[in-house]
Amino acid sequence: MTLAVAEPTLDGAVGCGEPVILRERGQREVFCGLTSIIWLHRKIQDAFFLVVGSRTCAHLLQSAAGVMIFAEPRFATAIMEERDLAGLADANEGLERIVDALLARRPDIKLLFLVGSCPSEVIKMDLGQAAQRLSRRFLPDVRVLHYSGSGIETTFTQGEDACLAALVPEMATSPDAERALLVVGALAEVVEDQFRRIFATMGVGPVHFLPPRHAAELPALGAGTRYILAQPFLADTARALSDRGARRIAAPFPLGAEGTTLWLRAVAQEWNVTPHVFHEATAFGEQRARRAVSHRRERLSGLRVGFFPDSQLEIPLARFLSRELGMVPTEIGTPYLHREHMAPELALLPPGVLISEGQHVDKQLDRFRAERPDLTVCGLGLANPLEAEGLATKWSIELVFSPIQGYEQAGDLAELFVRPLARRARLEV
């Protein structure tokens, strides 16, 4: 019998400084891109996310959203039924009917995303056309866009990538070639505001954020647009922006004191900010961040940390933990490794570190059980079982839902890794 699963391949010469890259195929234990809706709908405050999918998709959203059930949320699922599978005409008609009812009920909605799922993609439902048709009907009140959050196309945070990439063609073209900064990737408002202040002090501007807080605030793109990624999982969005002529500023991601400074410096250099002004704008924040982080260093230094693949934040997080807190990464799992975007991060990792791309969850569990890192960063499906086996874990989803970027959050970020260990140290049961 032949087995289709490829043997894991190893890249990178062992022994030299390059990380060792293990590519695996097997069962993946990760969310699909639909999950990004949980934070995207909080971020774009007049957008509605309508998943065109199955009961499974609805159940996933509900399970991932957990406690947020209290409100009438700005997301829902159009659940396909037997009849919709029989003929695409029926499915399209059903979708129109649902959108009519939805928009009638929610006049506050200005932007509607039709979000594709595995079932809608397998039956080849053309949500692009549906979105165009609906846009024609509802513009100028409501713009209807589409993207895929399906599990066959996207992993967890890639749902945000697909969503933002869908916004790029909607961005107006700015006639002037004036330099403008676009910060790309959903950030908590408090983080956005902090960055805004720092950029203002440096004299960098105008500054826009993608996604915007409101649909109408979608910034324009011009010949002078420079963009910087605030999140590491935005491959398609970056490509779409570059295709529109915007230029990417390469940098590590703004996690930790060092990461934030390097990220800000990359922007400063593009704007020819003098070292003095840069220092004025960042020194205080950086110092405060370093102080906050150093309080936690004692607790974490020398401890080994391993990551299961989840959000693509794993590599920047491992860099932060190793360089600012003295932790030793054992294995850094990532669902996908974007070599170009990750290059500045990879350069900062300890030499010879193991990065695993893709997943074979059972083999990976074997490795973690053998390695027994002091802290395992993993998803919700794995955390309790590993705790029961005596491994300390940190739920990775919290790293996606909490504000962790920038100087003022560096201490909080370190604290997220301290807490599970501190808790274990206190418990006597």
Partner: protein, 507 residues
Amino acid sequence: MQLAVWTYEGPPHVGAMRIATAMEGLHYVLHAPQGDTYADLLFTMIERRAKRPPVTYTTFQARDLGGDTAELLKTAVHDAFERFRPQAILVGASCTAELIQDDPGGLARTLGLPVPVVPIDLPSYQRKENWGAAETLYRLVRTFAGPAIGTPRVAAARPRCNILGPTALGFRHRDDLVEIRALLERIGVDVHVVAPQGATPADLARLGEADFNVVLYPEIADQAAAWLERVFGQKRTRIVPIGVGATRDFIAEVGALAGIDTTALLAQATSRLSWYSRSVDSNYLTGKRVFVFGDATHAIAAARVASKELAFEVVGIGTYSREQAREVRDAASVYGLEALISDDYLAVEAAIAAAQPELVLGTQMERHIAKKLGIPCAVISAPVHVQDFPARHSPQMGFEGANVLFDTWVHPLMMGLEEHLLHMFRDDFEFHDDAGASHLGASAAAPVMETKPETLSWAPDAEKELRKIPFFVRGKARRNTESFAAGAGLTTITVETLYDAKAHFSR
């Protein structure tokens, strides 16, 4: 296509997972994309299970679709067998894999594994979680229960039964099982096999040896029990022992099936609920308006307890279990009601708002609805939440279960004496309407803005009269009066209108 904001049930393969996870020695290979692995967290986070569910997902991706998803499935089954060495393997598809029609069962069989492979086809676009659980249990029982080869019954042996129904992620199944085991012991019946909870495929093979079956959750186990009845002539219980009356009926039913005289047991068996409910301070519970919503089993049982054991007034009853709609309709007719059969959260919300209950007995969803409407609520049914797995023993079934029901349903309400005192002292200087919940610190909450139709106004004396109504029911009185006035086409609410409305709404 159906719009779902929140869903009461997951897809049918989650039902199959609940069976597989409850059992031992069984592994489930699910042909599904990566995102479907979220289902693991239901078990590891909501139920806090210490082990991963025994489920392998093939996690095929778009690039596999043109190629060989079938090969991927075979590999997954093969690897799962090698790694976990189960007694049997369940094979099935989730919604997406159903569309690509790989025939997981047929493919898995070609591997020639030395253990049984049980294919389960769950139509994801028609059915839901409970149906999936029932179908899976039924398939497994059919596959393994085989012809009766039971050990010869010894004449002196006590009668024995199987307990069918408790699953992983079930609403209080863990504690109900403890309660029912103890109850059967008191009746004098031995428990032979419990399934699916804790059973191996080999245990299922012994099902036919018991004298009869106890069906705890008909949504899940009745289909399998009906098959066992046909094949082995094993009778099954029909009464779900939730509440004092139902527990007593259940004892009598089991006694009849086992040929045991339960008169003595029934004479002494009782629950604190019975006495607490007769205690004078429970007087205030009389006629409280309750709205009941849940799975069919729990909704029907809750309505009976509410009406007969707490003397509440059932003003609404409904279920999201379409498969058991008929049973719920029958139950509703007992209370002179039309049952609400719906899995549309918004429809349930509208029905509750319209019924104006004083207490909601529902699921976690109704808890949120009730919170929004400012009505007390107790949770009686799945879908489960982490709170539905309390650390303490907290059954719904049996006499102890009835005690739990009394506590959890009555505590959200204002206590009788409290309500009485509030009445007596409503003009007290420290205890007046605008004071906070406590005179120690914390100022009064901002008054709630009442919305009323623009054209409707309150005459000053009516407004003054309204202020005499205790604050905790004033909002309702105001709303009732306004809706009454609007219905009557009035524009001004007078004292007369207020009392007309009171008469209209009083029971």
